[in-house]
Symmetry: C5
Subunit: 319 residues, 5 copies
């Protein structure tokens, strides 16, 4: 499976939280490999640079004509350019990751709010649609379940529409949706028509239309996140700054740590590049969010709502 | 009782604030133990590592064939990899804790807003429902009190529905709620039906329906917080970075502090791991928020509202 | 007067800003004492610890059997545990203070928005209530002025309701409010009834009801801020980390500064503990916000609005 | 002109942005003087302190009985209290400036949103008011243009109402506004009456009333920013911490830089105090925002809207 | 083409994300040149300063009467003013960039929300306009497509209105728009008239009018971002602080790195000035955002919506 999917998180339940809170989080080997796999090449590159510095110092400097490093100054002096820029690099790295995180959480909330909107429109339809328009209510439920699934085709790639929507729609509806370029607007058009056709008050119509509008907003916001990365020059400048900083680090620490330097430089590189890599991965959040699981959950919710309906009506009527 | 409950905060009153503001907050032993209990094992591990470094230096290096640490370079040189990465680690740690804190506060405000919404729907019902629909008004009050209690079953675990809802609902209502998979939607269905059945204007109906929609939104937002942890790779990478950083620290400071090193390393580990642990704990906020107390308070508020009603009406009628 | 009140700020006018912008802000002795008074004991404690370190070094180390500090390593080496954790401590401290500041500003805006809402409901009432319902309009004005004053009883302590509300309400209204447990809901109940009784369109009723709902939301949000402190374990862990860090600092700097160490340690402690203390104080914002002054200002605004009314009507009618 | 006005920014056009992007921004002498003028005294004070440290070291220490600084320890040891607190000071400074910046941007957006609201109410009035109520429409335009200008009297000082409003209002309207204590509420009262008098649907009336309510909110929010400074104790504690830190810095660096110390201390002081001063200046944003220019622009916009009107109507009618 | 356009980002598709995630992001030479071109002069200046320090040390100090640098103190002592201010400079730099980033993202979202609003108004028009008003519906579509294109003339410069709007409008409409000073208000005036002329319910009219109001808000918010830069004194103070800091850095590190100093100073300058430059560039976001591409995409969306219409109606009618 594709590399980015390794970072894909499952929806958490109570037992996941229990596990996360135990001290095993410090040692769990699994996700270590996730990060290792992704930053393998740049880390290797940093380790090789450290080995190169070592070889140069041990072999090159003995020959004539090679410039040499002053052995008698201490490592802290050599480290001055690193200590004065380590703030800038740490801040850039963490702020960039944070900005990616905010995109990721915005995307997650877009999907969550879309589901809440669909739950709400179905709740309203169940209560407000007259009994004789039951077929219309069923259509409302079908399309309300389908809309969050459209996220899988609108902002993710590699999902098979036929396979996912078959259990949710009637055959002629499915055929129609499949032949469209932007099926999301087909779904909202159907929902709009259903709300307009229903025999409800003007105010109820507006209230339900608001949810469809909300759905369009969530798709628009998700689209903005997908199409617009963080300014690319900013992303690349940070990456380049970091990799050059890491490649030069061995020069400063070699005379203290000698042949332990490649190990130390590799460890520092692994951690800093790991942070940067995670930031890059969550910047495009839709391929790592469990959108399919969230949409399935919505389906179960809406089906439960329909079952509740009759009994709730009777309970209230008794008053 | 379970470990996470130790962190559970009570709702604060003025005397708690008074106590927090006194300088006793620096010395209060109680909550020290809370954190100690939770980070005991990793801190012990760091202390043992420090002891191990000491034994190696005192015993191992005297024998033939063991690599040794250059005693003549100073500790600041050894510390270079630590001083240049301590920014990154502190930033990661504090930002992560902050992000957890925001989830925690969002969750708290979700519960608070849900209660405000229910207070509002009851206020409107009291004023707008005609006198002959008094039974309906009482049903509205019952279900409005119940809805925030559903948070205990929707996003927390280990609460007994029978015990909590018995004093709040009629027996047939309680039976119906108990047999459902997602009782939250049962409660909102009842509230929707009540608002629809009431003899009020279309505009009043929409205004009350808005509160029910708001309730669904708060549950949706809480659900998103519960189901979606911070990206797990990010959490684990931070934890791993921190624990390795702490395990290596004794190497750099041993030659200055000698046998005080285990104490110092233990103290630093206790504080940094404590921050990280608090961040992990408040990331899933529902098991540490006093939701039951907040819901009880709402119940008292709504009961007070009903008592106010008649007199308020008379006061206004006199004008 | 109580200690927290020393931090209470007055509403600023132009001359206060002028003064704040002058360079006298660096030297003004007044508020120095505010902070000094509050962190006196912990700072003293740090100074005594510094003196203790000095005495131990001068006296204790000369006797047999006392462990000693290696004099020949330099202070920077001793400082390593401090320099590597000073980031964490500064970040924790400033972020915590920032989080408190956000609570403080949220609370201030809650009060401000509540006043804006009441200004708006009175503006609408003046324009929309028919002339024959003038007594009702006066009641609206009375209760709209009273609602922000309820903040003083809802989230502050130590205010005398009788004294504050007497000039604002009729005697029978005051008696009724005083006998309630949660008088805030009494006030909103009256406002709701007034809006419902007025002869205005359904749309106007909803628009005015929205302001009452907004008022309830501001009270709910303020309540959340009062009842829910920042996670207590987080607050205490930060305080404890800071005090221990400060108590150990003299060990590292004694050999450089000798008997100046108590002064320097005291100064550093004063500043860092001062930040921490301010953070603690503004975490519960209601006892330091000038809510009474804000509510008085609203009263003057609303009285001015009533005077404007007739003339504005005539000006528009001329068109 | 007054000192704070020196910081007042003009609205930017494309050529300003072009200039800002060129590398001349590093050298432009103008605004250097702005900051220099404002922090002149405290910087001078720091320079004098540095000179004082120098004189003491060169002259005082040679005489008997003066305590002396240990010359043989290195400057880095002396610098320990500075390096461990420089984080705290930088964080405090930048966060404080950021918080001020947020107030400044909020204030700017309040003004911007107020103008947008007025543009919108005029757009609606043009389309919805019947032709026979043309005089009323003109009154709407007059008052909608005046409302943003009220910001100049509500939250700024030193503006002459007569001079600014004369070209915008009829003489009797101007007289009435001038005699009021809080003329802002006079303007909103007129707008409310105009909307109520217009022959439009109930829904249209509510939609236009919403903009007037929005205007009141922007004034309320601006008022909150003007009346409520950042907690004064926080501001002063930061200023005091900074100035003492700067006054002590020469002690640590004298032995390295000798008579260059006053220059270096002055430069560091200039930059850090400059940041602090800018933070103080933008904390009260209304005296440095170009509110008059923004309001003039709105006037031109609204006059353009009126011209567009007839043609737009004809274009649509042709369909 | 103009320099700022080099930073202009394309809308991202899945293959761009794939490329960004690969480790080639560390090495991609293209955007390196973007930044190099823009900071070429100040970096050169820093390198020359470093060379100047070197020449002075090698040549100048040997002659009589030139002040000299104490060679026997170590570089870390010289670096003290740099290490204690590097926090401040890194924080200022990164926070400033972050604030610029927020303006950039706000601007992007303004454009995105405007498009969503136009999608929504067309969706509503398609469903609600009666069949006989088909010409009006077509006008609605035309103007809804045009509105986001107005961003190109309202907040960008150098776009040819004739060329861009010709394929979107009828000739007489285009002529009218072209002769206006503020064509944006012409477009909203037409949309307002269309919604008012349509035979729809009052509630539907208000719901569609809300989108036009939303459009005005997005233009107002974009205008605020364009006209109001970050406080100029703040921007310039940061730039000046940074350039002086960089020009002085060689003094501290010369004795360690000798003739490698110009290279190191140049690299540090390139990275820090690069961050500052990117911050300056994204502060005015409209010239680097791909607004034309976003508006074209909206056009395709709306054309697809019209095609969907008939079939959606039939599908729903079958129920």
């Amino acid at each position: 499976r594709k590399r980015e999917n390794i970072l894909k998180d499952e929806p958490y339940a109570f037992e996941h939280w229990q596990r996360q809170r135990s001290f095993r989080r410090y040692t769990d080997p699994f996700d270590c490999w996730v990060v290792v796999l992704n930053v393998f090449w740049p880390v290797t590159f940093v380790v090789l640079a450290a080995v190169g510095v070592g070889l140069y110092k041990k072999l090159g400097q003995q020959r004539h004509g090679f410039p040499y490093f002053r052995e008698n100054s201490n490592a802290v002096e050599y480290g001055l350019p690193f200590t004065t820029t380590s703030f800038a690099i740490a801040l850039l790295l963490v702020f960039r990751t944070n900005e990616s995180y905010r995109r990721w959480w915005d995307a997650r909330r877009n999907v969550g709010r879309l589901c809440t909107g669909m739950r709400n429109i179905v709740r309203q339809g169940i209560a407000w649609f007259p009994t004789e328009q039951n077929a219309l209510l069923q259509a409302l439920q079908r399309w309300a379940i389908v809309l969050p699934h459209m996220m899988l085709f609108h902002v993710c790639e590699g999902h098979d529409m036929d396979c996912i929507l078959k259990p949710l729609l009637l055959p002629n509806e499915l055929d129609w949706i499949k032949e469209q370029d932007r099926p999301t607007f087909g779904v909202t058009a159907c929902l709009t028509r259903i709300v307009q056709t229903a025999k409800i008050t003007n105010e109820q119509q507006q209230s339900m239309d608001l949810e469809i509008k909300g759905g369009l907003s969530e798709f628009g916001a998700s689209d903005d996140i997908l199409r617009q990365p963080l300014p690319v020059a900013y992303t690349r400048h940070t990456s380049r700054f970091l990799i050059i900083w890491l490649l030069c680090l061995p020069v400063a620490i070699w005379q203290v740590y000698e042949w332990a330097t490649p190990v130390i430089a590799g460890a520092v590189a692994f951690f800093l590049l790991g942070i940067e890599h995670i930031g890059i991965m969550i910047e495009e959040p839709f391929s790592i969010l469990p959108i399919d699981k969230i949409a399935s959950r919505l389906r179960a919710d809406i089906e439960e709502m329909i079952e509740n309906n009759q009994k709730a009506k009777r309970l209230v009527m008794e008053c």
